[in-house]
Symmetry: C2
Subunit: 160 residues, 2 copies
Amino acid sequence: MKKEEQKIVVAVDESEESMYALSWCLENLVPHNNKSTLVLLYVKPPPTVYSLDAAGYMFAHDAVAALEKYGSDLVNSVMARAEAVIRNFGTDNTNVERITGSGDAKDVICSTVKKLGADTLVMGSHGYGFFKRALLGSVSDYCAKHAKCPVVIVKHPDDK
Amino acid sequence: MKKEEQKIVVAVDESEESMYALSWCLENLVPHNNKSTLVLLYVKPPPTVYSLDAAGYMFAHDAVAALEKYGSDLVNSVMARAEAVIRNFGTDNTNVERITGSGDAKDVICSTVKKLGADTLVMGSHGYGFFKRALLGSVSDYCAKHAKCPVVIVKHPDDK
């Protein structure tokens, strides 16, 4: 029944909670599957479409470039934090992959899980912003329903 | 960070899916925590209140007794199936406890998790009936939001 190599996707973002979810995964799921592949998945929001007149063009161009720079700095910083968490656990024999997606987090997460044929998805219960969550429902709710594999929803221990 | 003894609650019911969730748990969470306690939690629906006139009393009494008998047969059958699943995995050094609750499944599951100070809750994504789920939302949705620990939502592999 058990596959030899487990593929575990952890959805990471800027939140403490997603780093806690990663720790939970390393502590509870990874150690006894030496052949695990841990996929760190970060989803950037979709690029904003700007509509400006000719006078604003140069400014807009700079602003877009600055936002894109900010976006890729954010990816690097989230991935660097995640890798520090992994190093801390000393799970050196685990194969770690990084995937950065772009678009609506819930869709990108579910489609990545499907494409990879992942065995487990691990994510924080919050993330992706309070207002967006209040308006659209939480990303983790959606993924728990729609992802094609078991989903672990991890809450930050302080958030009880 | 890691506690020595992990307490894992698995919510079991009549569904194939909940047995699959138990298997997932035995396969992925239990083996590398030898000191785990696995709590099998089954929630019976709350007893129905009957309002009948005197003529119907004897019948009602028999019917209630029959329903109660049916309910406890169901508990025994679900627990027996769960224990067969556990035996199949040969995890004899895992401490197994059985808890039968009564009431609204989502409330009983969350309050049991809290009372036991459980480390992880594992459950199927469905269970507790299609119509009830359509009307009231799924039990697993509620628990993923409200249980005071990480929650694993396991879907039956055929249900993709």
